[in-house]
Amino acid sequence: MNISLLSALVVELIGFIYTFSALTLPSATIGRSYEPKIFPALLGICLLILGGVLIIQEILAIKKKTKEENSDNNMKFGDSEKKIAITVLNGVVYALLFNPIGYVFSTILFLMVELLTFGGKKALKKSIIIAVLFSAIAYLIFDVGLGIYLPKSFLGIF
């Protein structure tokens, strides 16, 4: 599907969900009961209108364009999207491991995956060195130097 049209439809969907949620928010017990709903409801209505205009614009634009131009704008799951998915998944694993195994070890793992995703498997040795160096230096700067306390590993040292 054309990404511009898809984004317009998603905007409209968000507009519907948000407006509905805004109107069904609990009433305030202090002051006017509907007060917490006014601003969000106005935003939701604005988004619905803008989303509607965008959908019309995109449909008109698709009609004007040739088939080739439209297929250029289609959603594709290519190599870069695959790498984005890996990065997001890696981020989730990083969040889950951050506290249990400590900053240094979780960051080494996270960065190694990222360095390999960016640079390819050939650079394994280099990736390990950079990941270890970055994690150790960042720990020293932030935890020891700046007093931003980072979670320690089971070893209790870092």
């Binding site: 984004s7 997001v88 951050f98 960065l111 960016f118 700046l146």
Partner: protein, 509 residues
């Protein structure tokens, strides 16, 4: 106390050795981040924010300003040497800077960009000294109605000035405002859009949204066009300086572009990119050698560089004096201020004189330090460009996560970071501008509170927003900012058709 005495007082703060050290460190780090393709001042400030978390407010602000300035200087280094601008404001430096470096004049291009940036930044800071206090005094008369309309004006101007589809700019703005409504409503205590999650009751921290959109989003975007290795570039330089002849060609373009850039910077939504592109076009039209533009005309580097640095200072005025940021980068700076417990706006100039004037004085010092870093030490700094992006981007990723953790010490925020990073990526892919979203997230809460206060004062009468003359002016400005981009091409084509008709009639006669 008058502005001059306050500035002198500010210098006593800014000249403290530790503060000079911080502005230097901030400047070097900012220059390095600014040089990375796609990473501009907004990203620079966003990912380097955690460095300032344990500093006092003055040192933190001075460091942030060093980063901001450094990134502005750094952006043009990569434009000149590898034809890859760090951010939009450095695009104009590629037009003539890169051809200069291709024809063996990289030294002159690097020198003039630093000299022009220094000049533009200094002139703009001098203007700021005289303008900031009157603006903040004027803003003291603002009530909730005026503030609400001022926010509306700043946001709509930013949304409508964005490149591409304006509707998408406004949608991005509304989404930003929606994000700011998440959490417990401060006036009524009602839980809004928290989906039952305890972690969302305090709202979504705007700093995380900033880091996600500007840093993580940019890294995700880079997968598409990341190069396999380093770009070929000059690494050995002769003396980085310019000849007398070159200086003569640049002096007037710099003098003209500095105040112009400042003015454009003050306007919400305009900023460094528009200032530099407009001043480039102005100089091309005024030049005796317009044919040299695009092929290595030195004034084609000087004018936009002076303008974009002046604009970066000008953009700080509405943020500091009114509490209304006019660009993505100043929005990030405002976020940094708020994180320090300072509320930008007119009262900042009344109650925190040492902080504000220390900051302004540090801008003078920062400019001198950055000119020093970027002229004699340019050869050393640009070596960063030789490090392949496939190593630099993962490091930026590492910094985004540590920055996020330092905000709240909660790994739950990593999920928020990832969600908004992916949102930033998809918004950019579908060609939605992200600056209006970030701006809206930051001012959203204050904007709603102003709206609610005005609504209460007027007993629910919305006509209160059109009662005072200032409100009417702000409404007209808002409508004008929305309509201007629509009207100006129509007016241009109408003017062209009229001119054509006149010319045709003359020919017929």
């Amino acid at each position: 106390m008058d502005s001059f005495a306050l500035l002198l007082q500010g210098f006593t703060v800014a000249m403290q050795p530790m503060n000079i050290l911080w502005v230097t460190i901030g400047g070097v780090l900012g220059t390095i981040v600014g040089m990375l393709p796609g990473l501009g001042p907004a990203t620079g400030v966003a990912i380097l924010l955690p460095l300032t978390f344990t500093m006092g407010p003055v040192a933190a602000l001075i460091t942030m300003c060093g980063v901001y300035y450094g990134a502005m200087y750094g952006g043009s280094r990569s434009s000149i040497l590898i034809n890859t601008p760090g951010d939009g404001a450095a695009i104009a430096a590629t037009f003539d800077g890169y051809p200069m470096s291709q024809t063996g004049r990289a030294e002159a291009a690097l020198a003039i960009s630093a000299i022009a940036s220094f000049f533009g930044g200094t002139v703009a800071t001098i203007i700021m000294v005289f303008v900031a206090v009157p603006v903040s005094r004027f803003a003291l008369h603002f009530g909730p109605m005026q503030y609400f309309l001022l926010y509306v004006f700043a946001l709509s101007a930013t949304a409508s000035m964005c490149e591409g589809n304006r509707i998408k700019g406004f949608i991005s703005m509304i989404i930003g405002l929606m994000i700011s409504t998440v959490g417990i409503d401060p006036q009524s205590g009602v839980n809004r859009f928290t989906f039952g999650l305890l972690e969302l009751q305090g709202g979504i921290d705007f700093l995380i949204v900033i880091i996600a959109i500007f840093a993580l989003g940019e890294v995700l975007k880079s997968f598409k066009n990341i190069s396999d290795g380093k770009k070929k570039m000059q690494t050995k330089f002769g003396k980085i300086w310019i000849s007398k002849e070159e200086w003569k060609r640049c002096i007037w373009p710099i003098i003209r572009s500095s105040p112009f850039g400042f003015l454009v910077g003050v306007l919400p939504g305009a900023g460094g990119t528009i200032a530099s592109l407009m001043s480039y076009n102005n100089e091309k039209q005024l030049s005796k050698h317009p044919e040299e533009f695009g092929k290595g005309a030195i004034e084609g580097v000087a004018a936009p560089e002076a303008a974009n640095n002046a604009a970066s200072v000008g953009a700080l005025i509405p943020m500091l004096a009114l509490g209304v940021p006019g660009s993505g980068t100043t929005a990030v700076m405002m976020g940094a201020l708020m994180m320090l417990g300072l509320q930008p706006g007119p009262t900042l100039f009344q109650q925190q004189t040492d902080i504000v004037w220390g900051l302004i004085a540090s801008m003078f010092i920062g400019n001198i330090i950055l000119a020093f870093l970027n002229i004699p030490m340019a050869g050393l700094l640009v070596r960063v460009l030789a490090v392949p992006p496939k190593i630099l981007y993962p490091i930026v990723l590492g910094l985004t996560f540590i920055g996020t953790y330092a905000i709240s010490y909660a790994t739950f925020d990593f999920f928020i970071l990832l969600i908004f990073g992916v949102l930033g990526y998809f918004l950019a892919k579908a060609k939605f501008p992200t600056s209006p979203l970030v701006l809206a997230v930051i001012v959203g809460t204050s904007m709603e509170q102003s709206f609610r206060r005005a609504y209460k004062v007027s007993d629910g009468n919305l006509l209160v927003f059109a009662k005072s003359p200032l409100c009417i002016i702000l409404l007209i400005l808002t409508i004008g900012s929305i309509l201007l981009p629509v009207i100006s091409p129509i007016a241009k084509s109408w003017k062209n058709s009229v001119m054509e008709k006149i010319a045709a009639r003359k020919r017929a006669k």
